[in-house]
Symmetry: C2
Subunit: 233 residues, 2 copies
DNA sequence: GAGTGGTCTAGACCACGGA
DNA sequence: CCGTGGTCTAGACCACTCA
């Protein structure tokens, strides 16, 4: 099992601090040569490192060392920016698009809507140190929040809903699973199709138990570590 | 991108119900032939399906269709068996080994122990419909629970600690991340080294805030979906 | 013992990124 | 425009599973 040895050799270099976060690895052909093997086998080793969350790939740009993951607490209603700031990370948000549209399958499921409802749909990419780490799709029932799209959407949607519309999140239901980044989602994160991903779905409720909004987050799986602390019943 | 088309063709067959959960796919060479391609490309398609959680592999035995994942709520102090039963799943637990040993690096970190402490270390594999889905390693401070290992360890450790020793879990701290199954962990789950995994670390506290025990769970990533509902502060 | 999956070789072409 | 990563070919050998 040559590819395991290659993987271990690279892990050793990472842990010895010879390779720093976000640093690019040498070209695949060069690495293959230096480990005296073929590209196929070398790529097997790289895929394994990727699955372990130690390196990541930018589509057609190469392989890079993964930075520490962001600690993410689903129990805290913290915005991405606040979370990043508390962990001394440099965060940025980019709005890909924001529009009113007919609820798609996911939106109707998450928001428990009747068919053909109108919703606001917002797609944003979040960056850590200029690396795109998560694509977030927010769905908000349009009747609750007129003119929502007129506001600055790079800020926390949670805070916006609270301050502008008095919609306070009291409860969250979430689901976490693994999958892959495909097509346009992969593109938005500069990832190759098929990159491992962590998918988080959230539905927010107000104090009366009504649904406020929902979100689906596609994370590069190496960029997040979910950590929380809670009381048991 | 031939392998994406192959993947889609197989997905279609799964969703049409032509392939049922736990059913074995044809041999790689046969699949490759029927899609008129080589094994390398075919395996790329299979790996993608695996990463999406739609199929899984048993080491040297072949590829199988993934059953529905088990819904797992970290906020409920439910035992694996109760969880499975509530979802009409057939569960089984196998004790791999249970012993007193010097705390390793992980145990000292999770239990916040001084160096060279004695702990009970229990390794168990949990099955759903005879498929091994998770390897659980439990660490318990030995001084709190004399003779722990004399009891039936196929039952819920949580319940055992509560009923036999009066140790009631009041709080849990957990961490969820993705990684891979390697070496003996992979073997215990009949998986190939490098299989995608969901790793859950848990530390349990009693009502005084003292640590009772800790656990590390290595899940086949397609076998679990983490779902919870909680109040926001 | 036949067939299978796990691993590896030694090439190839293309489209894209970056200079 | 060069070099890169993404994709694909057509084989091979071995160790293991299973009948």
């Amino acid at each position: 099992m040559q590819y395991v040895k290659i993987k271990d050799a690279i892990v050793e270099q990472i842990e010895a601090g010879m390779l720093s976060p976000r640093q690019k690895l040498p070209a695949e052909r060069k690495l293959a040569e230096s480990f005296d093997t073929t590209r196929v086998t070398l790529r097997e080793a790289l895929s394994l490192l990727e699955a372990e969350g130690r390196i990541y790939r930018e589509d057609r740009r190469g392989w890079f060392i993964s930075p520490l993951p962001l600690r993410y607490d689903p129990g805290q209603a913290l915005s991405f920016l606040d979370m990043a700031q508390m962990q001394n990370r440099l965060a940025k948000t980019e709005v890909l698009n924001a529009s009113t549209c007919l609820a798609d399958k996911q939106a109707t499921r998450l928001l428990a809507l009747p068919a053909f409802s109108d919703v606001f749909c917002i797609n944003r990419v979040r960056y850590l140190e200029d690396r795109p780490v998560v694509l977030v799709t927010n769905y908000v029932q349009s009747k609750l929040t007129p003119d929502l799209l007129a506001h600055d959407l790079t800020q926390s949607l949670n805070q916006l809903l609270c301050n502008q519309y008095g919609l306070k999140q009291k409860q969250v239901r979430y689901r976490i699973a693994t999958s892959t980044l495909l097509g346009s989602i992969a593109q938005a994160l500069r990832a190759t199709s098929g990159t491992p991903a962590m998918v988080i779905e959230r539905v927010h409720f107000d104090s009366t138990g009504s649904i406020i909004d929902a979100a689906i987050e596609y994370w590069r799986h190496d960029a997040i570590s979910i950590e929380s602390c809670l009381e048991l019943k």
